[in-house]
Symmetry: C2
Subunit: 145 residues, 2 copies
């Protein structure tokens, strides 16, 4: 993590700390796509259904890198292409995303949801976290930097 | 919940759903103060250490009310004063806040933290959620609308 970022925070409250990193629609959507859809490239991320502008995507990726939540590397299959990987700190956001999924499912039926997915998550949060992490680790393979 | 809000969402992804409601620094700080500090009045909320502007606070409170996360009522001790109470949907955000606390504590020591609080939460997430909810219900008392 770039320590200079800590000086710019508006308070030292731990909730504020994560809000300074993640408290922005686009940042959270980028992390969602990396965690639930195992996206790793700029073009995959840009294709999110919410329509992210390229300058915003670049800024948020750089910001997540500065905060130490992801690393940027070169695609071993195509050296001109950057790929992104979640760090351990990034992976540890999984339980937060699981809670977001459970909450949304519990409070509106106006969301797309694979049948039973949120119920499975709610019944076994730790299991859901473990499974998502295992899937991500497989997707990241050995190319994680 | 004001159903017209659903039509303005950028996608029907469940993660996007909660992001549309909560994916904003100030909204999350308002919810933090209501959950962890059991704040109920405008003036208590305005006193947050991060310094929220009055127009932003008013807008975020109205927004949380439209989404059905809080209700606005009259203070029984002072009829001119509004007080806010979390609804059941608002209370169900507690596990999310608990995860935010645990994550921040695990990823920097540059946060204020009552000794052992995050460790206690991490060891027993459900217990922490129950305890926070019980404390909130006591604070809301019978005046919850």
């Amino acid at each position: 993590m770039d320590e200079s970022l800590l000086k710019q925070r508006r308070s030292t409250c731990p909730i504020n700390h994560i809000i300074e990193i993640m408290g922005d629609k686009w940042t959270m959507l980028v992390v969602r796509d990396m965690i639930f859809h195992a996206k790793r490239s700029y073009s995959e991320l840009q294709a999110m259904p919410e329509g992210i502008a390229t300058n915003i995507l670049s800024e948020r990726l750089a910001r997540l890198e500065r905060w130490g939540l992801l690393t940027k590397g070169r695609d071993p299959q195509d050296g001109r292409r950057s790929i992104y990987a979640l760090t351990e700190a990034g992976m540890q956001l999984i339980p937060l995303l699981v809670e977001m999924m459970i909450w949304s499912h519990g409070h509106t039926d106006a969301v797309d949801m694979t049948t039973g997915l949120a119920a499975t998550m709610a019944a076994d949060r730790e299991g859901a976290t473990r499974e998502l992490r295992a899937r991500l680790e497989r997707a990241h393979g050995t190319s994680q930097t």
